[in-house]
């Protein structure tokens, strides 16, 4: 319950910051809202009325909060549509990309870490080196590299703008590789630490296969820090998506953000900030809910029975 309250607090903070930003932008607020589009004086008057700009600041703030609570994110005058409509059109594509990136990072890191933990040097060494290189490679460059090899040369995957699963593969890899490498380092270290624990010796003394020891006993303990990092990563992915969508010419929120910023489309930018905050908060709530499932010691004890 406390976690939900603090999540609400984070969202409220994000809302307040965007509200304040609107008022701290130099020049008229109306100009900030309409951005680079041209509007008639009637619409200007309409904006002043919608945003209560002729009323005291606290009334404007309450009005802003109230509209957000009703799901009204405002109107993008550049796009000529409601902000929510603009978001709806683009969110699906970005959501798919985020999911693809996270899935690749998680699956990749688990596979690599499990395959290399506590292995001889000739297996572990190259894996560790590959991880360092992967973390160091910028995602846009990786994206271009992937496009060059797998689209233009080998024609395995479509180059640009494709929808569906095929179009998602390369962008997901480009987005997820560096995080995958980082997670797999963390996970391998965690696994190697857990593998020294007495309960692992007990499991092996029971006659269990190494693979069963790793997957059934060790992985669950080692994966906790990875879960924590994944929550943080999703936040990083939202900004990572901006770059990836540009490189792969994908539709999506990242693409939309770049446009909104360059056209000074304030209502749209503010809405994207709020959406990112919402995604971040929801993911971290999910992460918190996951801990007790993974480690029973974190569950609220229904009284220790003796």
């Amino acid at each position: 319950m406390r976690r939900v309250a603090s999540a609400v607090l984070v969202l409220w903070g994000a809302v307040t910051v965007t509200f304040l930003a609107l008022h701290l932008i130099p020049g008229s607020i109306v100009d900030a809202i309409i951005g680079q589009s041209r509007v008639t004086p009637e619409i200007r008057a309409q904006i002043i009325q919608d945003y209560s700009l002729d009323k005291p600041l606290w009334q404007q703030y309450l009005g802003y909060l109230g509209r957000l609570l009703h799901g009204d994110l405002g109107h993008s005058y550049n796009q000529g549509v409601a902000v929510s409509t603009a978001l709806e059109q683009q969110a699906g594509s970005t959501f798919a990309l985020l999911l693809g990136g996270v899935a690749f990072a998680l699956v990749g890191s688990v596979v690599v870490a499990v395959a290399t933990a506590n292995r001889p040097r000739w297996i572990r060494g190259p894996a560790a080196t590959a991880e360092v290189v992967s973390v160091a490679v910028p995602s846009f460059w990786l994206g271009i590299l992937l496009l060059t090899v797998f689209s233009f040369r080998l024609h395995w995957f479509p180059a640009i703008g494709a929808n569906g699963f095929n179009g998602l593969v390369l962008p997901s890899i480009a987005l997820g590789l560096a995080p995958a490498a980082m997670l797999s380092q963390v996970l391998r270290q965690g696994l190697e630490r857990v593998l020294e624990e007495p309960f692992i010796i007990t499991a092996r003394a029971r006659g269990l296969r190494s693979a069963a020891v790793l997957l059934r006993h060790a992985l669950r303990h080692a994966v906790l820090p990875v879960v924590t990092l994944t929550g943080w990563l999703v936040g990083a992915f939202v900004s990572g998506a901006v770059v990836i969508e540009s490189v792969f010419s994908r539709q999506g929120l990242g693409h939309l953000t770049v446009g909104a910023i360059s056209q000074r489309d304030f209502p749209l930018v503010a809405a994207i900030v709020l959406i990112s905050a919402l995604v971040y908060v929801v993911v971290n709530l999910a992460v918190d809910a996951l801990y007790p499932l993974l480690d029973p010691r974190l569950r609220k004890a229904p009284e220790v029975v003796r």
Binding site: P198, F199, I201, T202, A203, G207, R209, H217, P296, V304
Partner: protein
Amino acid sequence: MTALVDVANLDVRFGAVHAVRGISFRIEAGQSVAIVGESGSGKSVTARSLIGLAGRGSTVRADRLDIDGTDARRLPEGRWRRLRGRRVGFVLQDALVSLDPARTVGAEIGEALRTHGTVPRAEVDAKVLDLFRDVGVPQPELRAGQYPHQLSGGLRQRALIASAIAADPALLIADEPTTALDVTVQAQILQLLAHRRAAGTALLLISHDLAVVSTVADYVLVMKDGVFVEQGPTRQVLEDPSHPYTRQLLAAVPVAHARGTRLSPAVGGPVAQPRPETGPEIVLEAKNLIKAYGVITAVDDVSLQLRSGETLGIVGESGSGKTTTARLLLDLETADSGTVDVDGTIWSEIDAKSQRLLRRRIQVVYQDPLSSFDPRYPVHRIVAEPLAVAGVPRAERRARVVALLDQVGLSAQVLDRRPAQLSGGQRQRVAIARALAPEPRVIVCDEPVSALDVSIQAQVLDLLADLQAELGISYVFISHHLGVVYHVSDRVLVMKDGKVVESGDVEQIFHDPRHEYTKSLLAAVPTLKSTEVIR
């Protein structure tokens, strides 16, 4: 008849460390053998070599290594797995960390059954409950669904043993199976192991405690520095030890007749170490202490008095409130009601500044100094810290530190070492030197020797007695080990569930206990069969 284990010239190295140096032994079916030795003697490595889990980086060599009739030298992993669990069960020390904390104990036991296909899959759950009954766990249906941290120490250890015997191995290896347990629980687990033995399972017990071993084993191997220095039937080894090390081990055990003598080896038999006279002055007094955490009353109306030069022992099992009482005496915790008076001053009646001054009068030594030292501080800084607080000028501190270390029997060579570079005994000496630094009237010792091998324990107990004779210092001595408490104390408090159930002169408590609980504690102490021990 072929032996279950037949080892000749077993040799285990970890790089440059030569852990086991050419040992030979046999374990016949149904036999109960014990390997006794102190930490680092190679006893655990020996046990693990028998199931091919000597550890990372180990090199195992042997002229013969027959496990259940199989030549186990260079045995491939897959063949080892057929021995592990099915022919040889293995029980480790502390079930809290030796059972997977993220899985229910039922799942752990079931895993052993499924791995070896001991019973058809459909019958696994029922067999798990049977096993729980076999090892004496009540309410098996409830327990099977619980996690290790939800069980008491005794039930956990039983569950661990159940998982080791699930596939009905002919040999059960138990590495310090009772070391983490209270004395009454220890007695129950030893009884359980004796039952397995009676049911025909061969046992290999690994322990540092000769007394524990003597109750179950019929053959003892005494190990030191990777070799067996002595071996023979248990009775013979205990009654007529031929090797000096075995004699030293036996002498170091604080048994009844050793009271008033030194425990560590001396030339020409036991040396008398009479208890110093107790002074008339009361240096520490607690009145009606009560401390509750939520619904649990950890300390429930505890009163005690300590005179100068006196040692007050506090015994009790885990959760009895011993340590909370110590924390109240030290003012590390504030009592809900009741007062603590140190050297004529009551903690709660003085301001923070005076309390800081009073802290010099009462010091503490903990069980594990490694965790009570800053790992980055060298020894001279650890010991000098209380001197600095006491206002000793910087120029004089070094000389004081050297003098203090000398007092606890450490040479100036350790001055620049860090805690991790010291042995367990050295660390406890440094902790005592640190406690002595502000010249206290009272030292509270909370399980000061529980983490030490028996011979090191003997040295530390002798040191504490010497310091008391020399400085007239008073001790509050907290321990779950009754033999140790008997050896050092003048008077004893017995605690249970936060209450003092019995208190009085040490001889009266140990030889004429009045309370049922005290009687049950004393009855549970494992004794060296041959010698007359505290009973």
